[in-house]
Amino acid sequence: MSQPTTLFDKIWDNHTVKVIENGPTVLYIDRHYIHEVTSPVAFLGLEKRGLNVVNPQKTTATPDHNIPTQNQHLSIQDALSRNQVLMLMKNCKNHNIPLYGLNHKWQGIVHVIGPELGLTQPGMTIVCGDSHTSTHGAFGCVAFGIGTSEVEMVLATQCIMQLKPKKMRIKIDGVLSKGVTAKDIALYIISQISTSGGTGHFIEYAGSAIEGLTMEGRMTLCNMSIESGARGGLIAPDQTTFDYLMKREFCPQNQKWLDAIAKWAMLKTDEDAIFDKEYLFHARDIEPMITFGTNPGMGTGVTGHIPLTASLAEGERITYEKSLQYMGFNEGDKLQGKSIDYVFVGSCTNGRIEDLREFSHFIKGKKKAENINAWIVPGSKQVEAQAQEEGLLAILEAAGFELRQPGCSACLAMNDDKIPAGKYAVSTSNRNFEGRQGPGARTLLASPLVAAACAISGKITDPREYLN
């Protein structure tokens, strides 16, 4: 009998073209996503070497990072952003790469549209010049972010060179409490293992609480894998995965579909397979979470207090104090009740239809607080259309919110959606780094439900107060 192996190993080994002795693996890539920001220099590199894209149909392009979320039918005002989007169009045209450009019905954040179109399928290797490529691991893929040199490698050869990461399994058993979502699981894990706890590893998420998540929830969780430092995170595909993918645009159909799911159902970690590191957490210990500092590991239950500096290891205190100073918080502060200024719902972490549903259902019949500026940004054109069809748009508008147009938006503030310096934003995105949402902006990461409660009350609020 062969050695029991992990799901990660099975996919990785299945895509190994060659292993260099004491060196990296030459890994074959099934699906490559590109966007306007990290691809231009890669195409320039190809040009300099006189190379073509070896397999254009295995790459899919969409602009998302720098585009405006209002008036997308007009020319992009910012000249540099416009130029990047035009370059993407030109490069895709020159190399026959499928592009879903601005105003295309399939345009959106690259990690939202890939799964939505069924381009992301179980067992694949997937890369993109974006660290949140880990999102696609939700489908049982080995998916991870790469740099621009590596984008060039994939374009030129459909392969990259990677050192094989170690394997980690994080099990969450039990049932999530009311008001606790996949985002809270992600923030909880990172608060426990830190933003470098996953470094050097690829995570498999397992356990009953994970199996109970929807595909949207699984994508949120896998998306945040990189925030623990991990290369990626994946979840074994199951009926939930197949139900999500069935009849999606680029998925196999009819007999081919049946063949595919028979194959995908085999993608599992063998019993007794060995991981380099394992964690077990209990769903009951997870509260709705919020961050208070300048990395995603600085999070706590929304009812919690900011830890005292003295509770940290001596070497970590200077960085911790600097972080609290940036946030304008004091050690020991209670988070609940702190006034906030902005609410951002969107991004590849929480910009999918289920996120908009959760937010909309929560605020239905209530009113946005006067002091809150809210930016609700769908992850894709399809999410936008569905939100309208399901009546979410009407609910949002009745409560004083507006729905913007799809893009990465205030998650990284490359467009005009910048949180002003010193202002507090409760954000469903993935990073609370200094200046991430605009120079001087102060970000508090949370789930769409926590964001909804904060948007209604104008301050940090536990959504469970409203749920009973």
Partner: protein, 195 residues
């Protein structure tokens, strides 16, 4: 683009004793709008280095004339966050050839190596010794020898061994890049695709 060869350097260092320096700090997203690889060094650590008015922020080590050199020494978990290769480009373009830390984020490490920027990982105790050496004498020099895989604190002659993957070491020593290598595997990749 072939990378510049790295064999051995001796240089003073710039200390940045902060943990979790993420790539958004190294180069904020709003400076990622170029379509060519040049000039990123101007915006390296932009928001830590300059005020909104572009006035240099006093006290930030890169603005402090007593520190200079081709080595940047950073706190634990250097380069976390975004995969932007622009972070490696900015550090390199500014003039750094070596980054020293007690822990590097994976994607940053790969990006650095792909650009001829050498990440030297040391223990946290060794990192403290390096910071102390700079504290004692801001122009303290260090010798980084890739062939021997050693980082030497010249003042005390303390030699620190560091790890680097042997393939990556060869690439740096010879200025090879991965694309050249992958292109040489064209046939094997074709065979793999067919099976």
């Amino acid at each position: 683009m072939p990378i510049e060869k790295f064999i051995k350097i001796q240089s003073s260092a710039v200390p940045l004793d902060i943990e979790n320096i993420d790539t958004d700090q190294i180069i904020p997203a709003r400076f990622l709008k170029a379509v060519e690889r040049k000039g990123f060094g101007d915006n390296l650590f932009r928001d830590w280095r300059f005020e909104k008015s572009n006035k240099p922020i006093k006290g930030f080590p890169l603005n402090d004339t007593k520190y200079k050199g081709q080595i940047l020494v950073g706190g634990k978990n250097f380069g976390s966050g975004s995969s932007r290769e622009h972070a490696a480009w900015a550090l390199y373009d500014y003039g750094f050839k070596v980054i020293v830390s007690s822990f590097f984020a994976d994607i940053f490490k790969g990006n650095a190596l792909n650009n001829g920027l050498l990440p030297v990982q040391v223990t946290s105790e060794e990192l403290n010794e390096i910071f102390e050496a700079i504290n004692r004498l801001s122009q303290a020099t260090f010798t980084v020898d890739l062939v021997e895989q050693t980082f030497t604190i010249d003042a005390s002659n303390k030699v620190i061994d560091f790890e680097i993957n042997s393939y990556k070491k060869e690439c740096l020593l010879n200025g090879y890049d991965d694309i050249d290598y992958l292109l040489s595997l064209k046939k094997e990749i074709k065979i793999f695709e067919a099976t």
